[in-house]
C-alpha cells in the first residue's frame, strides 16, 4: 500500500512555532523537561521529512493494526435516530481494540529514533496503556503505565492485558485517583528519568508538540473516513460525532474535514450525573481557560485555579482538561461540543449492541448518544459519521452492574 496512512497536516491548521492554536496550547513545563520536550519536537520534525519513517509507520498501520478500518452502516440503530443514515468508523476493529494504537506506533518509532529504551504512559480506560504495552512488546522497550487506582478497579481487564504484555502497571493513589492523577505521576517519573525515557503521551493535550504530534498520528482516521463515506454515500456527511476526553479520536476524525464547511463537527463530552450536579467531566461546557498538564486550554477549576475532580462512568473521558485545538475549534465556532450523561451513554451502548451486534466502549457510546440527538435534528435526509473509537469488552463488568446482567448480585467492594 502507498504511503497515504501517515499524512501530517498537509494543508490543515498547524500550531505556531510556540505551539499555539489561537490563545490555546503552549508549553508550560518545568525547566527539567524542556530539553526532552524539545528533543521530541526536533525528532518529530526530522521524522516527518523522512520517507523511511512514513514507510515504516505505514507498514505497521496496514499489517499490524489492520488499516484501513472499515466503515459500517448501521441501519437498525439509525431507526432510533430520526431515520438519518449513520456510518460508524470502526476504530474498535484496530489491533488492541481502539484508535489509540495509531498514535502509539508513531511515537514508539520516534522513541527508537531518539535512542531511548524505556517508555512511560498514562491511561484512563486502559486503551492507551494496552496500546503502549503492545508497542513496547513489539519494539522491545521497557514499559511502565500509570493508571489511577479507581480506573485499575473499573478496567481490571485492561490491567491484566497490560501485565500480560510485559508492562509494569502502577496504580496511582493521589488526588481523584483517575486519569489526571495518572498524568501527574507520569510527569514525575519523566522528570526523574528523562535521559532514558520517552513519555508516550496518549492524547492531544500536554505541552507542545504533543497536541499536534498526536493529532497527526490520528489524522488517518478522518482521511480514510472521508474517502470511504464519499465512496459509499456519494457525499460528505452533514455531521461527525466523536467523544472527547482529552480529544484524540475526535481530532483524528475531525481534522480531514476542517475545511469542509458544510460538515458539522460535534464533540460529545462526559456529563456524568449531569452538568448541573457538579459530578461531570464536561470541560468545554463548564470549564474556563487555564493551565493543566503543560498547555493552556479549557479546564475544570475553581476560582483559585485549583483543578476540580471530574466524574464520569467512562474512565477514558474522566478528565478535567481537553486538548488545546478543541478549545480553539470551540471558540472559533468550527466545532460544537455537548455534554452526554452516564445514563444516555449507557442506553446508547445497549442500543448499538442489540440493534447491530457491536458492543462499543463506554467512551464511544457518548458519541453514539450524540448521534441519536443530532440524527433527530437532521431528519431522514441526514447523513452522519460516528467515530466508534473503541470496543466495549473492557467495560463489560461496569455494564453488567449497570444493567443487572449478572445472575447473582456482585458486591461493590471489588
Amino acid at each position: 500500500m502507498s504511503t497515504d496512512f501517515f499524512i501530517p497536516d498537509p494543508e490543515g491548521q498547524v500550531p505556531t512555532a510556540e505551539g499555539y492554536f489561537g490563545p490555546f496550547g503552549g508549553k508550560f513545563i518545568p525547566e527539567a523537561l524542556v530539553a526532552a520536550v524539545d528533543e521530541v519536537a526536533a525528532e518529530y520534525e526530522k521524522a516527518k521529512g523522512d520517507p523511511t519513517f512514513a514507510a515504516e509507520l505505514n507498514d505497521l498501520l496496514v499489517h499490524y493494526t489492520g488499516r484501513p478500518s472499515p466503515l459500517t452502516e448501521v441501519r437498525r440503530f439509525a431507526e432510533h435516530a430520526g431515520g438519518a443514515r449513520i456510518f460508524l468508523k470502526r476504530e474498535d476493529l484496530n489491533h488492541t481494540g481502539s484508535h489509540k494504537i495509531n498514535n502509539v506506533l508513531g511515537q514508539a518509532l520516534l522513541t527508537k529514533r531518539m535512542g531511548k529504551t524505556r517508555v512511560i504512559a498514562e491511561t484512563g480506560a486502559g486503551q492507551h496503556g494496552v496500546a503502549t504495552a503492545t508497542a513496547c512488546a513489539l519494539f522491545g522497550l521497557d514499559c511502565t503505565i500509570y493508571m489511577g487506582e479507581v480506573d485499575t478497579e473499573r478496567q481490571a481487564l485492561n490491567v491484566a492485558r497490560m501485565r500480560m504484555l510485559g508492562a509494569e502497571v502502577i496504580a496511582v493513589k493521589s488526588g481523584s485517583r483517575t486519569l489526571k492523577d495518572a498524568i501527574n505521576e507520569a510527569f514525575r517519573d519523566w522528570v526523574a528519568n528523562v535521559e532514558s525515557t520517552h513519555y508516550l503521551f496518549g492524547t492531544v493535550a500536554g505541552p507542545h508538540p504533543f497536541p499536534a504530534l498526536v493529532r497527526d498520528f490520528h489524522r488517518v482516521i478522518g482521511v480514510e473516513a472521508r474517502r470511504q463515506v464519499l465512496e459509499r454515500a456519494g457525499r460528505l456527511p452533514d455531521a461527525i460525532c466523536a467523544c472527547v476526553g482529552g480529544g484524540s479520536n475526535a481530532i483524528g476524525i475531525f481534522h480531514a474535514f476542517l475545511s469542509d464547511e458544510t460538515v458539522r463537527l460535534v464533540g460529545l463530552e462526559a456529563a456524568g450525573h449531569g452538568v448541573e450536579s457538579g459530578e461531570h467531566a464536561a470541560t468545554l461546557t463548564a470549564g474556563d481557560p487555564g493551565i493543566l498538564h503543560g498547555s493552556r486550554s479549557y479546564v475544570l477549576q475553581d476560582e483559585d485555579g485549583q483543578i476540580t475532580e471530574p466524574y464520569s462512568i467512562s474512565a477514558g473521558l474522566d478528565y478535567p482538561g481537553i486538548g488545546p485545538e478543541h478549545s480553539y475549534l470551540k471558540d472559533i465556532g468550527r466545532a460544537e461540543y455537548y455534554p452526554v450523561t452516564d445514563d444516555e451513554a449507557m442506553q446508547a451502548l445497549r442500543l448499538l449492541s442489540r440493534t447491530e451486534g457491536i458492543i462499543p466502549a463506554i467512551e464511544s457510546a457518548h458519541a453514539l448518544a450524540g448521534a441519536l440527538r443530532v440524527g433527530r435534528e437532521l431528519g431522514p435526509e441526514g447523513l452522519l459519521l460516528v467515530n466508534l473509537s473503541g470496543r466495549g469488552d473492557k467495560d463489560m463488568d461496569t455494564a453488567a452492574r449497570y444493567f443487572g446482567l449478572y445472575d447473582t448480585p456482585q458486591g461493590d467492594a471489588k
Partner: protein, 270 residues
C-alpha cells in the same frame, strides 16, 4: 506598596559577607492550618533560616514528591485559599523581618490574574515569586507585573539546562537563581547529586545573581556540602517531614525550629 526584592538581595549579600551560604526554608501555607503554618515558618526563621518560601498548595503538584503532596492535601482539605497564602507571607515577614517569597504553580496565578497577584503579594510585604512550571518563554506578562511591584522572579534551572538556556533564563530572572540539584521531584535524598556543583558553576558563568541549590537537602551535612559551592541552600521536604512525623503540632513546630538550627550550622561549615 512595593515588594521586598531588595530585602532578599540584602539577605543573600549578608550571608556572602559572612562567608557562608544563606539558608532558605520552604513550607506550604495552610499546613497544618493557616495559623500553625505561620507559626512554623516563623519558628524556622527563629531557628536560623535567612529566607522563607511559602508554597501555594495545589491540586496537581506535578513537581512535588509524596511529602509535599501530603502537606498540600492537608492544606487544601483545610480550605486554604490564595488570600490565606498571601496572609501567611505577610505575617511571617512581619513577625521575623525576613524576606518571604511565594512558590507556586502557574495556574493559580494565571487564574487570579498576574497583576492582581503581584500587587497583593507586594502589599503583604512579599519579596518575590518562584514559578517552577512557568518557562521563561511564557513569563513576560508575569515579569512585567513583578517588576512594577518590586518583586523578584526566581527561575529554576536544571542539570539538563543547556548553557544557552541558562544564559536566557538568568538574564530574565531576579533575586537569585534556583538550581535544582538533580533531575526529579521534591523530596529528601540520601545524597545531593554531583550534578549540582557543575550546574552551579555553569550558571555562575552566565550571571552575577546568587545561585541557591534546592531538591534533596535534608540535613546539616548535606547543607554544608552544598554551601561549599552555592550561595544558598534550599530545604523544603525535610521541614514538612519533621512536622508530619511529629506527634502533635507544638512538637512539629519545635522540630521545624530545631531542623533550621541544625541546617544553619551546616551552611556555616563550608
Amino acid at each position: 506598596m512595593s515588594g521586598n526584592i531588595q530585602l532578599l538581595t540584602k539577605a543573600l549579600a549578608t550571608a556572602r559577607a559572612e562567608n557562608r551560604a544563606a539558608l532558605v526554608g520552604y513550607l506550604p501555607a495552610g499546613f497544618p492550618t493557616v495559623a500553625d503554618g505561620i507559626a512554623a515558618a516563623t519558628a524556622m526563621v527563629e531557628g536560623g533560616c535567612d529566607i522563607v518560601e511559602i508554597g501555594l498548595p495545589h491540586s496537581d503538584p506535578v513537581l512535588d514528591g509524596p511529602v509535599i503532596q501530603t502537606a498540600d492535601d492537608i492544606a487544601l482539605r483545610g480550605g486554604v485559599k490564595i488570600v490565606d497564602v498571601i496572609r501567611t507571607v505577610g505575617e511571617v515577614h512581619e513577625a521575623t523581618g525576613a524576606p518571604v517569597l511565594c512558590m507556586t504553580y502557574w495556574n493559580p496565578v494565571d487564574r487570579h490574574g498576574a497583576e492582581r497577584f503581584a500587587e497583593e503579594l507586594a502589599a503583604a510585604g512579599g519579596a518575590g515569586c518562584i514559578l517552577p512550571d512557568l518557562p521563561v518563554e511564557e513569563s513576560a506578562g508575569w515579569r512585567a507585573a513583578a517588576e512594577r511591584h518590586g518583586l523578584a522572579t526566581v527561575f529554576v534551572v536544571a542539570p539538563s539546562s543547556r548553557d544557552e538556556r541558562l544564559a536566557k533564563i538568568t538574564a530574565a530572572g531576579s533575586g537569585f537563581v534556583y538550581a535544582a540539584s538533580l533531575m526529579g521531584v521534591t523530596g529528601t535524598r540520601e545524597s545531593v547529586g554531583a550534578q549540582a556543583a557543575d550546574l552551579v558553576s555553569r550558571t555562575r558563568a552566565c550571571t552575577d545573581l546568587p545561585v541557591c541549590v534546592g531538591l534533596g537537602v535534608s540535613n546539616a551535612e548535606q547543607a554544608a556540602e552544598v554551601a561549599g559551592f552555592a550561595d544558598g541552600v534550599i530545604v523544603g521536604s525535610a521541614f514538612v517531614k519533621r512536622m508530619l512525623d511529629a506527634p502533635d503540632t507544638p512538637s512539629g513546630i519545635a522540630a521545624a525550629r530545631e531542623l533550621a538550627a541544625e541546617l544553619a550550622t551546616g551552611v556555616r561549615k563550608r
